[in-house]
């Protein structure tokens, strides 16, 4: 565990985070925006578009996660921030300064590498001191800051060890200490937890989050793990094919996904094909289970066309008392997977579509429904979201 001292209140990021989702980088500069990515594109080999005209602003002290499947451009974007890759188009600003064509060694950012990239020929203390020595600080200052950084990550007693003598988790901490000891404007984290085993990874998620709150630095992390992103970030930037699919607070992406892609990448979502009956005044009427439902209409929804209705498995409830809710679905249980605190039912709707249902087993009165039994499910219309088109 990181020996986190009693620190000051979590830095600005958390308390302001509701404002952040509206930040889009404009043409002008703003000091509170520590990173501005303005219309940046990166094309490999003349044809492979890794990052496509992407614009993003990151506020000072924020913990932003670039999330997406492999090949979505998130790592390329991070490497462009570090200066290892240069954009083919667009501008990157750091604290208001254009750093687009600046080499990595003249940028005030530091990176925690996926494989840690510790210098094998140097001791732990020398690894951490490396960046400070490049700044030509005096030796007592370097010694003090190295000791501080190492005790912050709980490795004060390992200063004279070589990296190969440490465990994976300890190496991770050295990499972290080496990157934060320079107090960079932005800390870049490239899949920092992917090399750790599951238990350690979960513990480190919390530690990293605490470290962020304690240091008040801006963190930009790349991951393909949605749980990691949900747990740690102030804001998630979900990417697809080099573009931003959606960005916002974790809860916003989870509860109000902008597209079927977002809905199914973050958490699990049932996507049911429905027919749009009518659209008027921003409201749409769709048919579900033989009943008409009125829901807020997304842009591009056309009456008579197909649409997708999304609902999270845990938002579906068992209809037990016979009262009829606003929306009802009757299904047949195909399979039940027992998870201890919950059971996930795989059900078939009347039209043959698959529906996942999570039932909390907190009340012992609820029995796990038997295979083949018919269930009446209900849900709140506010938990439903409509997507135009039937493209998942």
């Amino acid at each position: 565990m990181l020996p986190l001292r009693e620190g000051r209140e979590p830095a600005t990021a958390l308390s302001n985070s509701s404002l952040l989702s509206s930040y889009q980088a404009p043409g002008h500069t703003d000091m509170s925006k520590i990173v501005e990515i303005d219309g940046v594109s990166k094309i490999y080999g003349g044809s492979v578009v890794a990052v496509d005209d992407l614009t993003l602003a990151i506020k000072e002290g924020e913990f932003v996660t670039l999330l997406g499947p492999s090949g979505c451009g998130k790592t390329t974007l991070l490497r462009m921030l570090a200066g290892f890759e240069s954009p083919d188009r667009g501008i990157i600003r750091l604290a208001g300064e254009d750093v687009t064509s600046r080499p990595p060694y003249r940028r005030d950012v530091n990176m925690v590498f996926q494989d840690y990239a510790l210098f094998p020929h140097l001791s732990v203390a020398k690894n951490v001191a490396f960046g400070l020595e490049r700044q030509r600080l005096d030796r007592t200052e370097i010694g003090r800051r190295v000791a501080d950084a190492l005790s912050l990550v709980g490795l004060a007693d390992k200063a004279e060890r070589r990296p190969h003598e440490l465990s994976g988790g300890q190496r991770q901490r050295v990499a972290l200490a080496r990157a934060i000891v320079r107090r960079p404007k932005v800390l870049l984290l490239d899949e920092p937890l992917s090399a750790l085993d599951a238990n350690l990874r979960e513990a480190m998620q919390v530690e990293l989050k605490h470290l962020h709150e304690k240091l008040g630095l801006t963190f930009v992390m790349v991951t393909h793990d949605q749980t990691e992103a949900l747990v740690m970030s102030d804001r998630i930037v979900l990417m697809k094919d080099g573009r931003i699919a959606q960005m916002g607070e974790p809860a916003e992406l989870y509860n109000r996904p902008a597209s079927p892609y977002v809905a199914s990448f973050i958490g699990t979502t049932n996507l049911l094909p429905v027919e749009v009956r009518s659209v008027a005044d921003g409201r749409a009427v769709v048919a579900l289970g033989g009943r008409n439902l009125e829901l807020p209409a997304p842009a591009g929804l056309v009456a008579g066309h197909a649409a997708l209705l999304g609902i999270r498995p845990e938002k579906l409830r068992l209809e037990t008392d016979g009262t009829v809710g606003a929306c009802q679905i009757s299904v047949a249980v195909e399979e039940g997977l027992f998870h201890g605190n919950a059971v996930r039912l795989r059900c078939l709707g009347e039209d043959g579509s698959v529906l996942l249902v999570d039932l909390q087993l907190s009340q012992s009165s609820i029995a796990v429904p038997a295979r083949g039994s018919r269930l009446q499910l209900s849900c709140d219309p506010t938990d439903l979201y409509l997507f135009a088109g039937d493209d998942r």
Partner: protein, 268 residues
Amino acid sequence: MSFARTSALDRIGTGTFTLVILCVLSFLYVPIVILVVFSFNDSSSLTWPLGGFTWGWYEKLFSNRDLLRAIGNSFYVATFATILTLLVGVPAAFALDRLDFVGKRVFRRLVLLPLVLPGIITGISMLNLFKLMGIGLSLETVVLGHATALISIVVTQVYARLQRLNRRLEEAAADLGAKPWETMFLVVLPNIKSALIGSALLSFTLSFDEIPVTFFLTGRDNTLPMYIWSTMRRGITPEINAVGTLIVLASLLLIVVSVILLRDEQER
């Protein structure tokens, strides 16, 4: 059960194995032991039985001007051939590893050629070249001749090590504010140290006892192997044994030094 038999077989196996190792070791080292023993033998003929103990051959050696000059020449040639090889070979290895240039594959194959080419061919061809260019033969032409043959060793060793080097280390160094030259001297070179020291030692040794190329390219100066070879016409003298013993001693020292220098890296 079969435990007793297994252990009996084990003992036989271990015994045979030990015997084989002893044979190999004696095959390798008995000639050297004989060389060392005869260098202290109080008789000018190399025959059994041994006479008394003497330092005489060493005293003779250190008063033999020609021999000492030959040893000096050999050190001069080996040292400068090694330096020249490193100066040309290391950048060439970096170019092969990092740069993309036309004819890179051909270059990678061609650089190996001097290593497999017989020394006589290298010697004759370079002799022709120097004659054409009107360069007189001297120890310096020997240095050039050795360096061409040895560059392939440095290039292949250093290139192989660079291929295994994690490029993220260099990115990490740059990320931490190291300018390119700082990354080179503080991160890259320390991490390919073993290949640098190894190929330097190998180059030095190979240059030190090289005869064919030296034979063609030297002027009036003799190197140690050339001197030994030329005195052989008058038969082996115990004096040569003394030189040999000193060289064995120096080689042992070199091995110890290189083990100490490379110890850090082997721990990984």
